[in-house]
Amino acid sequence: MTKILDQPRYVCALGAMRTVQSIPGAIPILHSGPGCAEKLNNNAAGNSGHFSPNIFPCTSISEKEVVFGGNDKLKATIENALKVINAELFVVLTGCTSEIVGDRIEEISREFQQQGKPVVYVNTPGFKGNNILGHDWVLSGIFDQFLSKEKVAIEKGCVNLFAGPPLYDPYWLGNLRAIEQLLTKLGLKPNTIFGHGRGIANIKKIPAAELNILVSPWAGIQSVQLLHEKFGTPYLHYPVLPIGAFETSKFLRAVAIAAGISTAEAEKVIAASEAEYYYYIERYANTFLELRIMSKRFTVISDAQYSLAVTKFLTNDLGMFPTKQFITDDTPTERRPLIEDEFKKLNYGIEAEVEFSTNGYDIHEQIAKVDFSGIPLIFGSSYEKKLSNRLEGLYVNISYPMLEKLVINSSLAGYDGGLKLLEDIYTVGMSRLVL
């Protein structure tokens, strides 16, 4: 069937350059056109860090390389990148053209590895998959080539944690830190590789973990499985980003079982966290109950992560009702049943209908026909603003593309993340009290 990408909500595999960029000390080397990185970077804020796309070495493929091949250019670019840029790890990523013309990327990268240079390569041509798959390939490539197979001593309580794709999920770092804190409360020592204060040393520490935790419906599953095969580390794949008390407590129980933490210990943490969470909910419950323009029904048009997470939160914590939900991240077919199943596991036997689609126009037309029994509450990307205006709805931008909202380090994950999302929802509601 012809696929129409209308209102694109993902980019291509090379977009996973941002996964590399988010590991302090690591920089991508792009064997691609000169403007690929700038384009892929277009819609994300938070890009002027230590390495940014205009620092990424790039072979800047021109007609000459298309005709004669770009092997020499790649070699010279890596060689000079090692001289010009201070980095601990260089990750060669390929774009479409270099893959089609058949450049010897692996061979050239391996030559540098053999000289003891910190160079790895990952094939990320745009036509092979989107940035969410690319994120997984990049992690797998780094773990496979950069980590040696040698046995290391396992560190008691150490768990590796992975969540949403960096710089694609606007809340990637806030969420990661929030989940880290939750794990710390359980007495675990979470190890993450992204963001301030983390980096290459944390990658090296990965084999020492007792458990890998992946909090994501499908992004990153391949790399966690690779770690299982390579180091025998068991993993917990928790498909729902926990937002609010219900899901976060459930998550903590699942982690406790997987990590061998006693139920009593976990329940102590959960009880204390829920008590604090409900202190706030109690104080603001009148706002949630009495803001006269809010209806009970909502829809989410987002990646699998937020469609699922917001649906769980609003249904199970707030007692709201999901209408049809949409997943726009081109989830691979084999990953869909697990996600569809999760949408059926809501309180009181509520099940949400979910559709996977990349046709934004069609999604909007479907939502226009939905009965919200009041003012529509719409979660999604920048594209949903127009839909919301058309339906005179309330709109919260939670996922890519996010062009009219700035997220620095805030988080939607955990107990506090639920409160943050409520702030966003009711700020929109309170700014429009007239029906």
Binding site: I4, E38, S52, N54, E63, K83, V84, I85, E404
Partner: protein
């Protein structure tokens, strides 16, 4: 004058390298560059190391999607369509100004591996028909990409077939990113498509001036300015409709806010339909604005009105500008921008008494489409207060940082997303000359001068940030000469 390089019977535009002798690598100075240009050839120096920069397709598509109610169908994997969200949001924000709804869309074919082997023209055709059915666009642009280019998809053939079936303009645009290192070629590609598919031969003369700019932040001021001379303004391409564009061959003249942006369209309209193209330095700073106005006055036969306007405005604004310039005199600056701005801003800074210690342009056009050197270079050759060092740096940040480290200017002026922050991290204050009207006319000159003053009077941000960050480059690099990685 007929311009041979403009050929509407082909869907391909010759690149700037071949049409305009443009280059992306040079290291020298003003006198040398202008001398080489005069002799008809400036030698390009390739790089053996480069950092990521820009793709010509971004320029082409960002121009076309400013037109109202059109669809760009992009035959490419999902990465290239990353331009869509920004384009949509900007379009919606800009349309507010004219109280219209922005309905232009970018639709991707999301090419996958199978498409790269067997081709994706069948699905592309379906997507085109579906798009027409869904959005009812007033014109269609079918864009190729690196992938569709390398695998040889016959987009021209498809467009030619569909032309007979459709009652709206459909144009193929060739924006394979690898075909030119000069992303401003994308402006030419967009202009070529508009000329090929939308502009109709004139039926009558209209008292309208074509005004090419980017985001029309001063739409009202420009409208009032030309109204003073009895002209209606047709802004290009932001907020213009397909119907508007079909008539631009009937206008009295074409002017442009930036020569790099306007060369193809302006010269083509003159060559094909006799619409005079106003080729002057850009209307930036006092000298630029007045030269531009006077040439407009000459072309539209309104010299007296223009002179009266200049005299009136001068009396109001010149004393303020002179006063500000006194406070700026003696500051030292480095410039890093596209060529449409580098040489213009160099002139403006000299007007304000600021010393240009280095001018880096992202590329250099030895000539414009009329065969003449870019007016700003011509002006600098004749009037620059000193011969300053220059380079053509293709947005190569490592070269710019080396320049800044060596010359330690008071200010860095840049005009490209992501460029200011590196200067600031290196401790140099940066002014982002983003909006094309930032130095427009007398009033723009005043606010620009005040922005510079504010920047040098409060250096807190760069001081704080530089103290808390490290640069990504090695000491080795800073010890090399600026052109060390340019091949001979």
């Amino acid at each position: 004058m007929k311009i041979k390089s403009i050929n509407l019977s082909s869907s391909n535009v010759r690149t700037r390298e071949s049409r305009l002798g443009s280059i992306t690598g040079y290291h020298g100075d003003l006198v040398d560059l202008t001398q080489q240009s005069r002799c008809g050839h400036v030698k390009n120096r390739e790089r053996c190391f480069s950092q990521s920069s820009t793709c010509l397709s971004s320029c082409a598509i960002s121009q076309l999607t400013r037109i109202m109610d059109v669809a760009v169908i992009y035959h490419t994997p999902a990465g290239c369509t990353a331009v869509a969200p920004g384009s949509t949001v900007i379009g919606e924000q800009l349309a507010v100004k004219v109280a219209k709804k922005y309905e232009t869309v970018i639709i991707g074919s999301d090419m996958n591996e199978v498409d790269t082997i067997f081709g994706g023209l069948t699905s592309l055709r379906e997507i085109i028909l579906k798009t027409i059915d869904t959005y009812h666009p007033k014109a269609l642009f079918i864009a190729s990409s690196c992938v569709s280019g390398v695998i040889g998809e016959d987009i021209d053939g498809l467009v030619s077939d569909l032309k007979d079936e459709l009652d709206i303009p459909i144009v193929a645009i060739h924006c394979e990113g690898f075909k030119s290192r000069i992303w401003a070629s994308g402006f030419d590609i967009a202009d070529h498509a508009v000329l090929q598919g939308i502009v109709k031969p004139p039926k009558e003369k209209r008292q309208v001036i074509n005004f090419k700019n980017f985001y029309e932040s001063h739409r009202q001021e420009i409208t009032e300015l030309f109204a003073e001379f009895g002209l209606e303004t047709q802004f290009l391409y932001t907020n213009a409709s397909v119907e508007d564009l079909s008539h631009i061959s009937e206008s009295v003249a074409t002017v442009c806010i930036c020569g790099t942006l306007g060369t193809y369209l302006g010269n083509a309209l003159e060559s094909l339909y006799g619409v005079p193209y106003i080729r002057t330095i850009n209307p930036m700073g006092v000298i630029g604005y007045e030269s531009w106005l006077r040439e407009i006055g000459r072309v539209i036969n309104k010299t007296d009105q223009v002179e009266a306007y200049i005299e009136r405005e001068r009396a109001i604004y010149l004393p303020q500008i002179t006063e500000l310039a006194k406070q700026l005199t003696g500051l030292r600056a480095v410039i890093g921008m596209g060529p449409g701005y580098t040489y213009e801003v160099a002139r403006v800074l000299q007007e304000l008494g600021i010393e240009v210690v280095w001018a880096a342009a992202w590329h250099y056009d030895r000539q414009h489409d009329n065969g003449q050197p870019p007016p700003a270079m011509d002006f600098l050759e004749k009037h620059a207060v000193n011969n300053f060092p220059m380079s053509v740096t293709d947005q190569q940040n490592f070269e710019v940082m080396n320049i800044l480290k060596r010359h330690q200017p008071d200010l860095y002026f840049s005009r490209h997303p992501g460029s200011t922050v590196w200067a600031v991290k290196q401790g140099v204050a940066a002014v982002y000359v983003a909006d094309e009207y930032m130095i427009f006319g007398y009033k723009g000159m005043i606010s620009f001068a005040k922005t510079i003053l504010d920047t040098v009077r409060n250096r807190s941000f760069e001081k704080n940030l530089a103290a808390h960050t490290a640069m990504p480059y090695t000491d080795w690099w800073y010890q090399q000469s600026i052109d060390a990685l340019l091949e001979e």
